[in-house]
Structures are given as structure tokens and as C-alpha cells.
Symmetry: C2
Subunit: 315 residues, 2 copies
């Protein structure tokens, strides 16, 4: 048995180790892997698994000669997928709790814009604004760009609230209760009808600046943008111009090209922009540790890994 003892290298910043070491050890024990070595320092040639945060400093996987898998701590893998030294399988984080948090944030902010809440929150001025009831969700069109695990879950929840949901993805996907389109022309058709646009696309060269001057001009005037996906999906200058012109009515943004968003960035002071500090998809340590350990258990049992990244597609 000592020879089979897997070595798991935790490669992430120190504060993550404080957050994850306990939950990971508990999850290993629960999975019958209490004998595994979980460490932040190991000789590369001894390491079987890397639990990985791309900002950890580890970028050269060449000396990791017996590596069975790299298990990403986050859903986003754009900073590792292009790494040519990584030959081992790469798994992204797919955590039900992460999906739940995203569904809650997206549903909440879509309903906020649908109901026109800001009008009342800003207008506690003694004026009874009768007759301002919004249309029903059944008469409101929401576009979901991206139908992966997160996008599909959010689209399904919005459909169950009776929103008319248009879903778009690069390649064709079907989703019950959602009218789906795909490809470049499908995107134009979806945007031309969308009153609220939610961005949950992966961050790849092909999705960079999906919302730009041309695509923003296709929207019905006054449409709202909600971005809990990735900052690079939006051309920021084009969005600011569209907000100033009134083409876009509001933008609620949780992710940015630079995070934290610098204090001098025009998004902060713009009256039609709401900034939230990358909270829509906060990974929770307990549930994420269970997901990581399930893949280690599979590796040790010779079963196929879950949530593998398609390195060619980049996600």
C-alpha cells in the first residue's frame, strides 16, 4: 500500500491553502483516500495530482513526469488551457453549489431589471408612482449567451419564471423551454430581439468582445446587459458609448478585464452601470473539495475523469 499512496500537490496562493486544506482532507477521508499525501511542497516527479490555481506561480509542468491529472480550482481555465507543458488531463471545477450561486445572482439581477426595481430604490421621495407595474415575464425576452452548465441552469430557471428565453451557443444545443440559436447569424438574430442579455460564454479567442459596437447596435433600444461570465466578452469602450447614447439602458457587471476593477475606471461612476465584485460564481471550499476528490478517487480506481477540458476548443 505505501507504494500506491497518491501524492496531491496543492498549487495555489497561501490563503487558499488555509481555506481548502481542511475541506480537502475531510473529503479525502470520506472517499476512503485518507492515506493520500496532501501537500504544498513535493518533488515534481513524485506528484500524482495537482490541485491548481492558475495564479499559483506553477506554469512549467515538464518535470511532473508521473502526473495523472490537473484539477482546476475554478471554472475558468483560460490561463492554463494554452500551456504547452501540460500534457496530463485537465479538469475544470464544476460544482453544483457554484451553479446554484450563479443561478441566484443571474435570476435576481434579471428580475431586478425586469421589475424596474431601481426606479423605486432611487425614488423614495413620497411620489406614489401608480401604473408603473412592469409587463409580465411572459412578455419579456431574455437572451442567454452560452449554454454550458451555468448558462443552461440559468436559462432553465428563467424559463420556469415564464421569461421568453432565447439561448445561444457556438454549436447547436437544445434545451427544454428555451428557443435556441447557434452560429454567427444566430447570434445576430438573438441580439435583435433581446431586452435583457446575459453573458455566460467561455473566455476564448473566439468569444473575445462578443459584445462590440456592431453587435450592441443590433439590440432593441434600451436593452440591459448582465455579465457574470468573463470581462473579455465585452468591448468596454463600445459598451460605454452605447450607454451614453441610450442604445443600452443599463449594464450590471460582475467580471472585468482587470480585477479588482480600478477605482478610476469609468464603470464605477457611470449612472447606468452596476458593478459587483466577482461574487456571482464564488467557489465554496467544502463543495469544491468534494468535486476535486471525486476525480482523484476516479483516477485511483481507473475510472474516467469528470469535467475534462477540451484543450483544442479551449474550454
Amino acid at each position: 500500500m505505501p507504494d500506491a499512496r497518491p501524492v496531491i500537490l496543492f498549487a495555489a496562493k497561501t490563503e487558499r491553502w488555509e481555506q481548502y486544506s481542511g475541506p480537502l482532507r475531510t473529503a479525502l477521508k470520506d472517499a476512503g483516500l485518507g492515506y493520500a499525501t496532501l501537500t504544498t511542497e513535493a518533488a515534481p516527479e513524485d506528484v500524482d495530482y495537482v490541485v491548481y490555481a492558475p495564479n499559483s506561480g506553477l506554469t512549467d509542468f515538464t518535470p511532473f513526469t508521473r502526473l495523472k491529472a490537473v484539477l482546476n480550482l475554478w471554472a475558468g481555465v483560460e490561463d492554463v488551457t494554452g500551456n504547452p507543458t501540460l500534457k496530463a488531463p485537465l479538469a475544470r471545477m464544476v460544482d453544483d453549489c457554484l451553479t446554484e450561486g450563479m443561478v441566484e445572482w443571474v435570476t435576481g439581477h434579471v428580475l431586478r431589471h425586469h421589475l424596474g426595481m431601481d426606479l423605486y430604490l432611487d425614488g423614495q421621495d413620497g411620489v406614489w408612482r401608480a401604473g408603473t407595474a412592469p409587463p409580465l415575464a411572459r412578455d419579456r425576452t431574455v437572451a442567454m449567451l452560452g449554454l454550458g452548465v451555468l448558462g443552461a441552469a440559468c436559462a432553465t430557471m428563467l424559463a420556469s419564471l415564464n421569461f421568453r428565453v432565447l439561448g445561444w451557443s457556438r454549436s447547436r444545443k437544445d434545451l427544454p423551454g428555451v428557443e435556441t440559436e447557434h452560429g454567427a447569424e444566430g447570434l445576430d438574430r438573438v441580439l435583435s430581439r433581446a431586452e435583457i442579455v446575459v453573458l455566460l460564454l467561455p473566455d476564448t479567442p473566439a468569444t473575445e468582445s462578443t459584445l462590440n459596437a456592431r453587435t450592441l447596435s443590433l439590440l432593441p433600444r434600451g436593452a440591459v446587459i448582465v455579465n457574470p461570465g468573463r470581462g473579455r466578452l465585452i468591448d468596454d469602450d463600445a459598451l460605454l458609448a452605447a450607454l451614453d447614447e441610450g442604445q443600452v439602458g443599463h449594464a450590471t457587471l460582475d467580471v472585468f478585464r482587470t480585477e479588482p476593477l480600478p477605482p478610476e475606471h469609468p464603470y464605477w461612476a457611470h449612472p447606468k452601470v452596476t458593478v459587483t465584485p466577482h461574487i456571482a460564481s464564488e467557489t465554496r471550499a467544502v463543495s469544491a473539495s468534494r468535486v476535486i476528490v471525486e476525480n482523484i478517487r476516479r483516477g485511483e480506481a481507473g475510472e474516467p475523469f469528470l469535467n475534462l477540458v477540451d484543450r483544442d476548443a479551449g474550454y
Copy 2:
């Protein structure tokens, strides 16, 4: 056939007639009742049905000797249920669209409080408030007081978003996915656990000031009140005191003892109160007309009426 031609008196304010006459005639025609007389003036002894708004001025039903039913335009019947001159069956408005609008408003404002949205909406100040992600809905307890058509629909939607939903009603009711309690002791138990309390109780003598100084003190400190039900469910002075003390963290109120809420009312200026102008359950004329006409069709066909009010219980 002329003898069987039903006479329908529309008893509501003039602006309602402008809103409803077209949709009601369309719905009558669609139901094969295009031959019925729909009017705002008729001899009481000729009237078969009254489409009724309690603020119409009609309060003495004694001369309406052949009345088959009174069909209320709204869900609330508190201003007519105690009328001793009304002997005919009384039906309340139960409109799917009204339910949908209520579910949207309640879900939106519960998510707003759950996600702590106001922190970000008020704080667009360049400060990146990292680490402020809320707990998941699965770790948030919401109490739904009232499990009628509206309360049950809202509770079910909140449960599908993974909230821990506690439901309370006067008499015992079961609802899938919801932990239910009933009776006076059940109310105390529910309130002692509720982080967010939604009021959708009927307005009866028994429910007046359900939230008062004693019951508000049972809540976990900082709990949030959401009231789309009726203004009389809350003792306003007790709520204001609880807000000032910090016992209640926020109140989002759509209904009031006096509407419109007078400009000088302390709710308007209170930093922990959000006022919305009775928009959570706006009746939509097209769908409401179909509901009313379905009851007329049933009356003419000798079938039982839908949505009858229990006059003794008061709802």
C-alpha cells in the same frame, strides 16, 4: 332565447369600464355568450351577474332579486365579504397572470435581499468589496405567511431556487418542498427562524397586525420583511420601532393601510424601508376578463362557480 339573455352589470369606476369593456365583450364572444347584455346601468331586478369593484358605490344588494353571482374584479374581498345585503355567491379574482406577477415581484425582492443587492447599488464608489458573496439560498430561511393561491405559488418558486421555505397558514396545509406550520404556536416557531418574511395572508379581523411588537421580537435580529399582501397585516408603529432598533433589517412594502401612501408618512424617508406603489398584484384586464366570463358561462350552464369566497371565514 331572448328570455335567457343574461344581464351583466359592470359596477366599478369609469376608468375601469374603459379598461374592461372591450376585453369583457371579447371574452363573452369567445365563450359563446356574445348575446349577453353587458352594461353599466340596469334595473336591479333584471341583473343576473354583477362584475364588482367594492369601491364602485354599490353597497346595497337588496333590490337585486335575481342575482346569480357577484364576480369581484380583485383578489381582495375584505370590503364586500361582511356586506349583509349580499346573499348571492361571491367569487374572488383568481387570475393566473395575477399570480405570475406576484411570483415575479416576490421572487425578485427576496433575491434582492438575499443577495444584498442594495449594498452594491448604493456603493458604486470605486471600492471593490471582495468576499461579500452571500450564502447560498439553501442556507437562507424564508417564511411565507399565507399559503393561498398566491402564497403557495411564491413558496413553490422560492423552494425551486433552493431557499429553505417555511410556510404558515391558519389551518394546516401541505405543500411539496415547503416545511409547513399552522396555528398560533406554529406562527411563533416560523418567525423565530425566518431571515426573510413574506406576507401573503388574507385581510381579515384575525390577521390584522399579524406583525406587531411581540411577533417582530421573535425574529432573528436583522430579519427582512416583504409585504405584497395587505397593509393591515402590519402594526406600522411597531415595525418602525423595530427598524430603528435594528431588530428588523429592512422592510419592502407594496401595500399600506392608506393608499396612495401619504407623502408625509415616515416609511418614505426611512433608510431601511422600500416603498413600491401596489404593483405586485396588478390585475391585467385581458386575463381577468376571461376569468370572470368563465364563471358567467358556468352559471348559465348550471355548473358550479369557481373561486367562491367562504363568507364565514372572510376569504
